[in-house]
Symmetry: C2
Subunit: 571 residues, 2 copies
């Protein structure tokens, strides 16, 4: 495959798969591949499954770029096929399928790789003058059409703006446990620069390896941890962004009551208000104490009530993940069927015996059962048995699956499986009807489309005192005969049903995957038109030309861009 | 005095002092009065102090109202002198002085008392049609000119909109621990409705008795507690606001990543974007376990380092208030001179032995000393010794002073003392220079004005992992001879010096007192012009006529209102 050679690119990164998750040369382990083929085979008809080959760059048809960089920017602007293809889509199911269908209609005309903030300013100036749309691009791990330059006919061209060269930790404030970090820093890169100082941002989304600080802020990313400080929102001390009208910088403050928070306006702005170039981030010391337990329950309701009690206890567990029976089966946790809560505490300051003891009293009140010896081992000092325990058992199995899962789809997509996830949040009082209703509607849609029972599983990724953040995974057979166009059409019907169910049953269209293009209908269903007008007013003030990521989240004032993308295709 | 009789009013509340803090018929205790006269006498020259008499309503000159309510609104709109005077100022030092000077130039023309949301809509419609400014008014406890209708000549009239009739807890969601509360509910009213359910909002600002939920949200109020969930921001689950363009409602969600948070836009909007009519608020169970300690230190630096360690420990103390030597002296805590940290834990779920034990290890690392027996007593079950201990000792003394202090100023203002407070927040790394610099500059200004050493004390009201929120109190002699105009002029010079010091030394102009009119210069110093443009753009979308609280926070688009108020007088 052409992708195994070093492609023509201005990127400094190890070559990426332009059609699927991760690095171009990364493969599935044999055990992963066997297990996925079994899963797919179980859904297929007796004819078996046809496997679609990954695309080569040479197979992709790209229109000639409609714009050329001025001389001063030529060294940081690429029109190479690899660069354009890597920046054509994010990493959602339909993104991969469209690449497997050899479709890259909305590829950016060019990709800009700014090396400094002034380059960002210059690119925006150039774009504004040329009526070109600018799509800020961090790691490109969006699963909602957030980085797809499908901006319609109102723009002369589209420019993807890749921040990967802005990756330094520029300053560390030890006393305040904070660091000034450039927005293009990827997860591992950022942690590697903090580790020698004994510090960590401790923000570990599933996309960790393939997403950036700026992307996390722009999309209100959710971290790995279950409670209290976990959303990136709470770690942002200050931000600096380039808008078409100038630089928007906020002051480093631990707290403030001076007007509406400007950081909170940039958080979730998804590239529509400015290009985030750096941020002061609140850090933590690396944990040295741990305690954990895998708790099994007799029913989903008992497990949910236990988690509710934990969420309202003020104990602030770092892990408090409920896996429902389908999720337990999918991830082969415990006995493979009992609802399970993976419970954990971490601290850089104190042993956690009292914390886990009280947490286990709470889960016992709801009939939870656990292995007391494993809990005792988990309390051993870090670096010894504690860490080992932490890496093994249910928590370890789950962690492994969590990080590898995006790669699995590189195979399941090619086999015609429609495997996707969506997530929400809902008050505790609405959870039961939400959980039942979402699974019923999505499952029914799958059955109507495929004639087979739909697989829909659920886990909690985060829990708040007033409600959980449920995360759903669904699996359906596309057609199995290599007809990915029919698979994509099935995905679209399931996705629309999921969007509709989540919002009509009182949830949010997204807890941490952002709105992008794919969730716009749901976003409009759950927000007041008057707020979206306010947001449009704010955008117009900083981006009067409406060039920043048009179609994502909202339309710019005076432009009817529409969402485009995978759920709302233009043609 | 006329104020002791029931005034002519549409208010349902016990009559308020229109010139000072609190109820019109509330007096200082004899011990309070004696102690304040001693304080004032110590600053005065040998001539003693002249005491200015409180004003009667009849002494106040009010211009005739320039606007009359339409028939449909006549029953909820008042033009009585009492109602207009109560809504003329907030409760800052210069607000009281201007009343003692018998000046109420910017009194609202009328006061509207909506009984339901539709009334709010109707008042805004009426105002928009009449080019009248509308100043939303909760409890009127603003100390930054946030409710003063000093809107300049560009408006035909001003209407103060008092939300006191919107005071009900409308719905309680026990499972999610949340309640739908009307925005006009005062602290005690709101807690009284939650108490039978074993629930509490647990938000206790100093103004608790004289401020409302809507006011807390509009000004990003800070509660009584020291760490983790304390700012009102974190308790807001959803809001509903009336804007001139329609209703802006957000969805009840425990967490969301769907675009920038609309609630966070309303938080801190200070009445410029809409009138908040109700909110779903996150509640807590009433605490049943407590632990506390008063810890004394050998130096301010030791105390500060101990608090920094506590703030970064993940123990989340509910109290962690550092009082500096001047603050200890002012509040007569402990030996009256050692820097003291009032440390406390509260929980509705679990005994707090392990928590306070570890906290005391941390303070011991920094040389802190405490009474071990008092700590042991504080751990006794609530309702018995624990609560008793909690109400006594340093914590109790401090609490008493905290709640009474605003009343003290009703006397000190009349005696010509310039006694005021201001607060900020700053990263730990900047604290030492900030603490020294603010005290030096404010103290020097007082000395230059009065020829006497300036009293400036500091405590931490809140602590975050990345920095504290220092709260300063200053005292200076006005002139002592009853010349309040000269006292006001001295206050203005000290206030300008304080504003300038706080912002130039890296802090925020306000941590929880809001911006209003008095902090506008500082606000503009610490925010990017481009963000204020974005905010103006958002405002223009929801309030195209620019009628909502003009001059507070920002100017409406196309109107040059200016701040007005006490620091920036128009004449």
């Amino acid at each position: 495959m052409a992708t195994s050679q070093k492609p023509d690119t201005l990127s400094q990164r190890r070559p990426l798969s332009f059609w699927g998750w991760g690095y171009a040369d990364e493969s599935l382990r044999p055990d992963e591949e066997a297990s996925l083929r079994t899963l797919a085979g179980g859904l297929a008809s007796s004819d078996g499954l046809e496997e679609v080959a990954p695309p080569d760059i040479e197979e992709m048809t790209l229109a000639a770029p409609r714009i050329e960089a001025p001389g001063s920017l030529r060294e940081i602007v690429s029109a190479s096929p690899y660069d354009r293809l890597v920046h054509t889509y994010g990493k959602s199911y339909p993104d991969s399928i469209r690449m497997l269908l050899r479709e890259a209609n909305a590829a950016p005309d060019v990709v800009a790789f700014p090396k400094c903030e002034q380059d960002v300013v210059d690119v925006l100036d150039w774009a504004a003058g040329a009526n070109a749309a600018v799509v800020p691009f961090g790691g490109g791990s969006s699963v909602c059409g957030g980085v797809e330059p499908d901006v319609g006919d109102g723009y002369a061209a589209s420019i993807s703006l890749d921040t990967q060269y802005l990756g330094r930790v520029r300053e560390i404030d030890h006393a305040s446990r904070a660091a000034l970090i450039e927005a293009g820093a990827f997860g591992p890169e950022l942690e590697a620069q903090l580790r020698p100082h004994g510090l960590t941002l401790r923000h570990f989304p599933q996309s960790f390896e393939f997403s950036t600080l700026g992307g996390w802020i722009a999309t209100r990313s959710g971290g790995h941890y279950a409670s209290v400080y976990t959303h990136i929102d709470d770690f942002v001390e200050a931000t600096r962004s380039v808008t078409p009208r100038g630089v928007l910088e906020t002051r480093r403050l631990p707290g403030s009551g001076a007007g509406p928070s400007a950081d909170r306006m940039m958080l979730g702005s998804e590239g529509t208000l400015g290009v985030i170039t750096e941020a002061w981030m609140r850090l933590q010391h690396r944990p040295t104490h741990r305690a954990s337990a895998s708790v099994h329950f007799g029913s989903m309701n008992d497990a949910k009530e236990a988690v509710r009690a934990l969420s309202q206890s003020g104990l602030f567990p770092t892990n408090c993940r409920l896996l429902d029976p389908a999720e337990v089966a999918l991830n082969r946790v415990g006995d493979g069927q009992s609802p399970t809560v993976v419970l954990g505490f971490e601290s850089a300051d104190h042993p956690l015996g009292a914390w886990i003891e009280r947490a286990l009293e709470l889960v016992a009140d709801h009939g939870g059962a656990w292995d007391a010896e494993a809990v005792a081992r988990s309390l051993a000092p870090a670096g010894e048995a504690g860490t080992a325990e932490h890496r093994q058992g249910a928590a370890g199995a789950w962690r492994d699956a969590f990080l590898r899962m995006p790669y699995w789809r590189n195979l399941t997509n090619r086999l015609g499986l429609v495997l996707d996830t969506f997530e929400s949040a809902i008050p505790w009082s609405g959870f039961d009807a939400f959980y039942d209703g979402v699974r019923e509607r999505v499952g029914r849609t799958i059955t109507e489309l495929t004639g087979q029972p739909g697989f829909v599983s659920c886990r909690f990724t985060h829990v708040y005192p007033d409600g959980p953040a449920p995360y759903f995974t669904f699996v359906a057979l596309g057609s199995g005969n290599g007809d990915l166009r029919s698979a994509l059409s099935r995905w679209r019907e399931i996705k629309v049903a999921a969007n509709e169910a989540v919002v009509s049953l009182g949830g949010t269209i997204t807890h941490h995957h952002a709105v992008g293009r794919d969730h716009r209908t749901g976003y409009e269903g759950q927000t007041s038109a008057i707020f979206r007008e306010a947001l449009r007013g704010a955008k117009h003030a900083v981006d009067p030309g409406g060039i920043l990521n048009p179609g994502v989240l909202i339309d710019p004032a005076g432009r009817d861009v529409g969402a485009g993308g995978a759920v709302h295709p233009r043609s």
